[in-house]
C-alpha cells in the first residue's frame, strides 16, 4: 500500500454542506475515494451525494468508522474543526482552508502534539495516491500511478509538475501538498521520512518556495537520512524581499527565506534542482 491514503481510507468530509465541500465530495467519490461521512454541526441527518451528514466528528467516527477527514470549513472555524477531528480519533486530517490566523495554527500544532493525529495543511490541495484515493482538490485525471513521491508547498505548481511527470510516463506513488502557510502540520521532513520507508516510492520530488527555512532543513535531513534520489524545484527566484507572494508563508524576511539560499543548500548536498517546473520531469527521468 502507498502512504497516508489508499484503499484503507474511510473519509469524513468536514463542511460537506458548503459549496466547496459538496463539489469536492462528488469529485472525490468519482475518483473512487471511500467517502463514509460528512459533518456539519446542525445538519446531522441530511445526505449529500449519498453520504450521511453528522453533527459532530465524534458521531461520524462512532457511526461510520471514519479514520481520515478533509476540512472545507471557513477560516474562523477551521482550527476548531481540526482539533475536533483529532479529539474524535481521526488519524489523518487534511485541511484545505486558506486564511487561518497563524496564532490559531500555533495552538492547533500544540494540541496535535498531544495526539496521534497527523495534519496536512492548512492552505493545501491535499493528498492523492493515484488510482486509489484522492483526499483533496487536485485534478485527479492528471495523475498516473507510479514510483515518484511528490511533496510540495503549492497547488497549481504541483499540478504543473505532475502533468510533466505523467506526460513522460513517470507515475506518482503519492503526491502531497503540505500547504503554503507559515505554520503547517506535516513538513517536508515528515513526508521525506514516509517516502523513504515506502516501498512503492523510488524517487522523491520536493517543490518548495520562498519563505522560512523548511527546504534548508529538508536538505540536511536528505543528506543524513534519505537513500532515495531526490529532485527539487524552488519557486520565487525573482520574488522581492518583504512582500508576501500570495501564500501567507511565501515571504522573504530580512535575508531569510530566499530561493537562492534554498537552491544553494539543496545543491550543496547533491540534490538536482530544476530551473523550471517541467524540467523536474527531465531530471527525474535521467535518474530513473
Amino acid at each position: 500500500m502507498s502512504i497516508l491514503v489508499g484503499n484503507g481510507t474511510r473519509l469524513a468530509i468536514q463542511g460537506i454542506t458548503g459549496h466547496e465541500g459538496m463539489f469536492h465530495t462528488q469529485q472525490m467519490i468519482e475518483y473512487g475515494t471511500p467517502v463514509v461521512a460528512g459533518v456539519t454541526p446542525g445538519k446531522g441527518g441530511e445526505w449529500v451525494h449519498g453520504v450521511p451528514v453528522f453533527d459532530t466528528v465524534r458521531e461520524a467516527v462512532n457511526t461510520t468508522g471514519a479514520n481520515t477527514s478533509i476540512i472545507y470549513v471557513p477560516a474562523p472555524f477551521a482550527s476548531d474543526a481540526i482539533m475536533e477531528a483529532a479529539d474524535a480519533g481521526i488519524q489523518l486530517i487534511v485541511c484545505v482552508t486558506e486564511g487561518i490566523p497563524v496564532l490559531d495554527m500555533v495552538r492547533v500544532c500544540h494540541f496535535l502534539d498531544g495526539t496521534d493525529a497527523r495534519l496536512i495543511g492548512p492552505n493545501c490541495p491535499g493528498i492523492i495516491t493515484p488510482g486509489e484515493a484522492k483526499v483533496g482538490i487536485m485534478p485527479g485525471h492528471i495523475h498516473l500511478p507510479g514510483p515518484v513521491g511528490l511533496v510540495s508547498r503549492s497547488g497549481t505548481l504541483t499540478y504543473e509538475v505532475v502533468q510533466a511527470l505523467t506526460d513522460r510516463g513517470l507515475g506518482q506513488s503519492t503526491a502531497v501538498g503540505i500547504g503554503g502557510d507559515p505554520i503547517i502540520g506535516t513538513t517536508f521532513i515528515d513526508m521525506l521520512r514516509l517516502f523513504e520507508s515506502d516501498p512503492m516510492t523510488g524517487h522523491v520530488v520536493l517543490i518548495g518556495e520562498i519563505g522560512g527555512s523548511d527546504e534548508e532543513r529538508a536538505a540536511q535531513f536528505i543528506a543524513a537520512e534519505i537513500s532515495k534520489p531526490v529532485t527539487a524545484f524552488i519557486a520565487g527566484r525573482t520574488a522581492p524581499p518583504g512582500q508576501r507572494m500570495g501564500h501567507a508563508g511565501a515571504i522573504i524576511e530580512g535575508s531569510e527565506g530566499t530561493a537562492q539560499e534554498k537552491i544553494a543548500t539543496l545543491e550543496a548536498v547533491g540534490i538536482g534542482v530544476a530551473s523550471y517546473p517541467a524540467e523536474v520531469a527531465d531530471l527525474v527521468a535521467e535518474r530513473m
Binding site: 500555533v106 505548481l157 504541483t158 499540478y159 523548511d214 519557486a235 530580512g254 523550471y276
Partner: protein, 377 residues
C-alpha cells in the same frame, strides 16, 4: 498588514508601554502647534510604511515650535522609496542614554513566538544578527503558557541592564507579548527602547505587523489600513480578492495559484525577461475576475506584454478561455498577449483564444519565451 509608527505606539501605550508625548500632523502649521503644546525640543518623523526613513532624512530634531514647523514642511514634501510623506509624527525629544531592542515575532521552525532583545537598539535587528550575533538574545515562548516574568528578567540580566530599570523592562516585555497575542501580530517591536538619562524606559519607535488572516477578528485594527498611501492597483486587487505585487519589469502576468505565479515569474526571468508583477487570480477564472486582474496589470505603464498561465485542473479550459475573451472585449488592451491554458478541454480553450487573435502556447517555457519576444518587439 504593517501599521504606522504612531499607530503602533498608540496600541503599545494602550497596553501600558511608556511612549513619548506626541501627535500626528498632516500640515507644517499643525506640526508647529503640536510642538508648541509639547514644549522643548521635539522629533519630527515621517510616517511612511518603508524602512530607512532615518537615512533618507525623514526623521529630524527641532529645537522649538518654529523649527518644528519648518522641518515638518520639508519632510512633508519628501518622497521616501517612492512613497510621498503625507503625515508627520511630532514627539517630545527623549534624553537618551542607551538604546536597546525588544521584539516579538513568530519563529516558524519552532512554531512558537520568540522574544528577541539586544543591547544594539536603534538599528535594524537583521543587521545586528548578521554583524554581531552575540548581541542577540532570543527566548522561545511556550504559546500555551505565555511569557513568564522570570524569562523577561533573565533577558534583562542578559542585557546587563541597570537594576533600576528592570521592573519597567519586565512590565514592558509583558505588555509587548499581550499586544502580540491580543492583536494577532506577526511582529511587535520596540526599536529603540531607550533608557533615558533619568533612568526611565521609553518606547521611542514601535512597529506592529498584523496577521492579515486574523483581521476578521480585529475590525478596529483593519480600519487602521493606510488607504490613502496605497496605490490604486493595490486597492483594486484587495477588493477583488486578488494577490498582486507590483514589480519593476515589463511583462505582466496573470496566473492561478501563488506557487505557479512565482514559477512563471522565474521562467520569464530565465528567458531574459523581467516580470512586471506577481498576480494570483485564485481558484476558477471567471470573466469578472479576469477583467479586474487585467485592469490591474495594465494600470502599470511599464507593461509591454502580458502572459496568462492558467492550470485549469478541475475547471474546464473552454470556460476559462471564454472568460478571458469576455474580459478582453471589455477592456480592449493595447499590449500583446500570450496565453497558456492547461486542463480539461485545453485544445478547445486554446482555439477560442486563437480565434480572438491571442497568441497561445502549450508549455510555460514556450509562453514565457513568446511573452519576452512580444515585450521587446
Amino acid at each position: 498588514m504593517k501599521l504606522h509608527e504612531f499607530q503602533s505606539k498608540r496600541i503599545l501605550a494602550g497596553f501600558g508601554v511608556p511612549i513619548p508625548q506626541g501627535d500626528v500632523a498632516p500640515t507644517p502649521a499643525e506640526a508647529g502647534q503640536i510642538a508648541q503644546r509639547l514644549g522643548g525640543p521635539v522629533v519630527v518623523k515621517a510616517q511612511v510604511l518603508v524602512g530607512g526613513r532615518g537615512k533618507a532624512g525623514g526623521i529630524r530634531l527641532a529645537a522649538d515650535a518654529g523649527e518644528a514647523e519648518q522641518v515638518a514642511s520639508q519632510i512633508l514634501r519628501m518622497t521616501i522609496k517612492g512613497i510621498s510623506v503625507n503625515t508627520v509624527l511630532i514627539d517630545q525629544a527623549a534624553d537618551i542614554r542607551e538604546e536597546i531592542y525588544m521584539g516579538i515575532t513568530l519563529d516558524r521552525a519552532n512554531r512558537k513566538p520568540a522574544m528577541i532583545v539586544s543591547p544594539q537598539g536603534g538599528v535594524e535587528i537583521e543587521q545586528v544578527a548578521k554583524d554581531t550575533p552575540e548581541q542577540i538574545f532570543k527566548l522561545m515562548i511556550d504559546p500555551m503558557l505565555g511569557l513568564m516574568d522570570y524569562q523577561i528578567r533573565n533577558l534583562a540580566f542578559d542585557l546587563g541592564l541597570p537594576r533600576v530599570v528592570i521592573r519597567q523592562f519586565t512590565t514592558i516585555g509583558r505588555a509587548l507579548y499581550r499586544v502580540f497575542i491580543q492583536s494577532d501580530d506577526t511582529l511587535t517591536e520596540i526599536n529603540p527602547l531607550v533608557i533615558t538619562s533619568d533612568e526611565r524606559l521609553l518606547a521611542v519607535d514601535g512597529k506592529i505587523v498584523l496577521d492579515d488572516n486574523a483581521l476578521f477578528r480585529h475590525r478596529d485594527l483593519g480600519e487602521l489600513r493606510d488607504v490613502q498611501r496605497q496605490s490604486e492597483a493595490e486597492r483594486q486587487a484587495r477588493q477583488a480578492g486578488i494577490s498582486y505585487v507590483k514589480l519593476d519589469g515589463k511583462i505582466g502576468c496573470m496566473v492561478n495559484g501563488a506557487g505557479l505565479a512565482m514559477a512563471t515569474m522565474d521562467v520569464i526571468s530565465l528567458y531574459g525577461g523581467q516580470p512586471a508583477n506577481f498576480l494570483d487570480i485564485g481558484g476558477g477564472a471567471k470573466a469578472d475576475r479576469v477583467a479586474a486582474a487585467l485592469r490591474i496589470i495594465l494600470s502599470d505603464p511599464n507593461v509591454k506584454s502580458v502572459l496568462f498561465n492558467i492550470f485549469g485542473g478541475i475547471t474546464r479550459c473552454d470556460e476559462v478561455a471564454r472568460g478571458i475573451v469576455t474580459a478582453l472585449n471589455e477592456i480592449e488592451p493595447q499590449v500583446p498577449m500570450v496565453a497558456r491554458l492547461v486542463g480539461l478541454n485545453e485544445e478547445e480553450g486554446q482555439q477560442i483564444l486563437a480565434d480572438a487573435e491571442m497568441a497561445t502556447a502549450t508549455s510555460l517555457v514556450e509562453a514565457a519565451q513568446t511573452a519576452v519576444e512580444l515585450a521587446s518587439g
